[in-house]
């Protein structure tokens, strides 16, 4: 915090020296088989937002985990205010005034906000905890930065946006002057993103140094002062945001020209292939996750299901594919009522599923690429004859799909778990799409994939549309929904708030519906 804001007394006491500049020089970090960071130089100064841009696996998170003391660099040095430091653990980094908000929140769900903030800190009462005092300070801090947070609320009661605020509070509470945010917008609605950006600008003015990790070009351009692009563990360059362009940054990230526009030829939608009527289902916590969903998807149509994650998207997908039991309502595929059918019967009807948890629900990590490719169809000819498996046929089929879908694998006998995320997704895509599905449920199909793999997956989904598949696309990425869908349905707390045609969709309006405001 800078000179402007009056600092609450407790922070003045705890405040370490202010950090004016953090530098990382020649950082090298090797993991078995990969160099995650290769002689990386990076610096951030007080009063600036410095974006770290790159594809997945470019080494952004690794670099920042080194700065935060979670990893030890193999080579290179870190300087705070020009002085060499060594962070053996996050504790050392916190002591030096560096805080990090992780991509996956580091919050203990059954704990209150105050307990989470107090975690790991000495108590002012020595042995007995001082949660009442912590709560009072949280309120002070929240006021300074214009948050609304109840220190006594339990984490599991909070929305994702609120949880993120708790994360930021935790860092501020520890008097950090350097704040690292790892993909902070991935889980937020457009409005919440705006709120976060206001807070960040506020903090910048107060003299904080902020590192903003992202792979979203628009956000990086709108929030940051400088942008450093990483590719394959190396720095491609550092540019002032004012001089950067979307295409220029994309080229730096990927190393070649990127086509942002996807070809979407006109397809006349056919009959209704997937119909959902007044569907109710319980979530994992025993409260209804779906509260009367109505939706239909026609042949040759992609319907995008937009919404902040956790509003029933996962449960809807699971009910449709037979992994979760509905309480009420109906699911029809074509003319058949399939409510409550087991997955095997649905697969037989031509339903394909690209699951959100692609490792957990999409394959068997220990099985080979080949076995995973025939996972759904192995009981049927030509892969099975009687009780015997036809191995030559399976091998032949696997080789063909590996080639067709460009799955980068050393061989068809390689275990699935040693493939990269993008190639695992291509494998699932290969298995699901080559069964010529009538209905495709694609949940977060490009989450965590790099630009090239994302492009590939999207093109394949569009191709499937031309072949007449009815696709329900569930995604947290609004850009993805907008660029692929024919119609967009917005889900909020287990209800569809409205369905709009893609070309008439307006981001503002979608954002409002995602926040629970009924469509006009």
């Amino acid at each position: 915090m800078g000179a402007g804001a009056p600092r609450p007394p407790f922070l003045r006491r705890k405040m370490r020296q202010t950090v004016d500049r953090v530098e990382m020089r020649g950082i090298v970090k090797r993991f078995p088989g990969v160099v995650a960071n290769d002689r990386v130089d990076f610096d951030v100064r007080a009063g600036e937002i410095h974006a770290l841009l790159g594809e997945n696996g470019a080494g952004k998170s690794t670099l920042m985990k080194i700065l935060y003391g979670m990893y030890q660099p193999d080579e290179g040095e870190i300087l705070v205010n020009g002085k060499r430091v060594r962070f053996r653990s996050p504790l050392d980094a916190i002591r030096a005034g560096i805080g990090m908000v992780h991509q996956h929140f580091m919050l203990v769900e059954p704990f209150t906000v105050a307990e989470n903030v107090a975690l790991g800190l000495p108590s002012s009462r020595r042995f007995v905890n001082d949660l009442d005092r912590v709560s009072a300070r949280i309120r002070e801090l929240a006021e300074t930065y214009g948050f609304k947070v109840d220190p006594r609320a339990y984490i599991w009661q909070l929305s994702v946006g609120e949880q993120q605020r708790v994360e930021i509070l935790k860092v501020l509470y520890r008097g950090a002057s350097v704040l690292i945010l790892d993909e902070p917008t991935a889980v937020l609605t457009p409005q919440e993103v705006e709120g976060l950006f206001r807070t960040l600008r506020h903090m910048r003015e107060e003299g904080h140094a902020i590192v903003f990790i992202s792979h979203k070009l628009n956000e990086v351009l709108s929030i940051s002062d400088r942008i450093t692009v990483l590719r394959g563990g190396q720095v491609v360059g550092t540019v002032p945001a004012a001089e950067a362009t979307r295409t220029g940054l994309a080229r730096m990230m990927v190393g070649r020209e990127v086509v942002f526009r996807l070809e979407r030829p006109e397809v006349e939608p056919g009959e209704v292939m997937l119909e959902i009527r007044d569907l109710w289902a319980m979530g994992d916590r025993g409260v209804p996750a779906l509260r009367g969903v109505n939706l239909e998807v026609r042949a040759g149509e992609i319907v995008g299901l937009a919404g902040v994650s956790g509003n029933g998207q996962r449960e809807l997908a699971e009910v449709i594919v037979g992994l979760r039991r509905p309480q009420r309502g109906a699911v029809r595929i074509g003319k058949t009522d399939v409510t409550g059918w087991p997955p095997a019967a649905l697969i037989g009807l031509g339903l394909s599923y690209i699951p959100e948890e692609r490792i957990r629900d999409g394959g068997v990590p220990e099985f080979s690429v080949e076995d995973n490719l025939v996972l759904k169809d192995h009981p049927f000819p030509p892969f099975s004859q009687g009780i015997f498996l036809n191995f030559p046929e399976m091998a032949h089929y696997a080789d063909r799909l590996i080639k067709d879908f460009d799955i980068r694998t050393p061989s068809r006998r390689t275990p699935l778990k040693s493939l990269s995320g993008g190639n695992i997704q291509k494998l699932i895509l290969a298995r699901e799409l080559s069964r010529s599905p009538k209905v495709l449920i694609a949940a977060q199909p490009t989450r965590g994939l790099d630009i090239s793999a994302t492009e590939y997956v999207r093109r394949r989904i569009l191709e499937q549309r031309e072949k007449g598949t009815a696709t329900l696309l569930i995604s947290d990425d609004l850009d993805e929904i907008l660029s692929l869908s024919d119609r967009i349905a917005v889900i909020y707390e287990g209800r569809i708030m409205g369905v709009v045609k893609s070309e008439e969709a307006d981001i503002e309006e979608l954002g409002l519906m995602m926040a629970g405001v009924e469509s006009r």
């Binding site: 653990s89 704990f111 042995f127």
Partner: protein
Amino acid sequence: MGWESWIIDTLKRALAYGTPLLWGTLGEIYAERAGVVNLGVEGMMILGALSAFAVAQSTGNPWLGILAASVVGGFAALIHAFFSVTLRANQYVSGLALTIFGLGLSGLLGTSWVGISLKNPLPKATIPGLERIPILGEALFRDHSYLTYIGIVLAVVLWFVLYKTRWGIAIRSVGESPSTADAMGIDVFAVQYLCVIFGGILAGVAGGFLSVEYRPAWTEGMTAGMGWIVIALTIFAAWDPLQAVGGVVLFGALYHLAYRLQAWFPPEFLKLMPYAFAILVLAVAGLRKVKRGAPASLGVPYVRGQR
């Protein structure tokens, strides 16, 4: 026999029988709150029982016996901590191994002590003043082992530490989400080691109680499945030290009642009780589907940088 003496008798026996269960359960609660399941309770208890008896018999001082039991229990737990925390071995396998190891080793080393009865068992105490309360005073505050009183006070203290101190926040956070605790600067391994060893110390004392107080003699396998009841009671108590006291008294009373019914039931029925109870608790916990208070990362070895 009047109903008063019947109640007094039942409560008294429940507390006496429940004391080792209480110590063991309190220890297991702490280990599991830090995310480490230790199925070695039975093994730690029996090793504690043998060492307590051996030391008490050799020195003539039962308290030295209890001290020895706590040290041995702590060391036995250290083995489990090393395997499950440092080597990240399967906690269930490591714990079972510890139980089998403890039962075997104590049987081997204890042969020369079999059949001797302890000269100088642990004294009993009466709390002046409180013993005068009608019925309850006589049942709860007269002629109990020191370890019974200490155990109940310990339960209150451990509850306070768990919920009202910053150490408690640290321990619970490690069991719920070790990666979060790690990121907040808490030494996850240290917390897990300390809690597991603490659990072992308590389990050792529980075993010591058996051989220098409850039945002042050494018999092979004298823990007779108590370690498994401890595991069940930990779940039954929802990992809460105060609820553990309730669970222990309830189970102690049930056990005593079954004992009284001996005239009508075969002794095999008695031997079956602990296991039946353990299965019953697990079944009820499973049927209710809600994992009441189970630490979210229970039984999962923590690897930094993995989710």
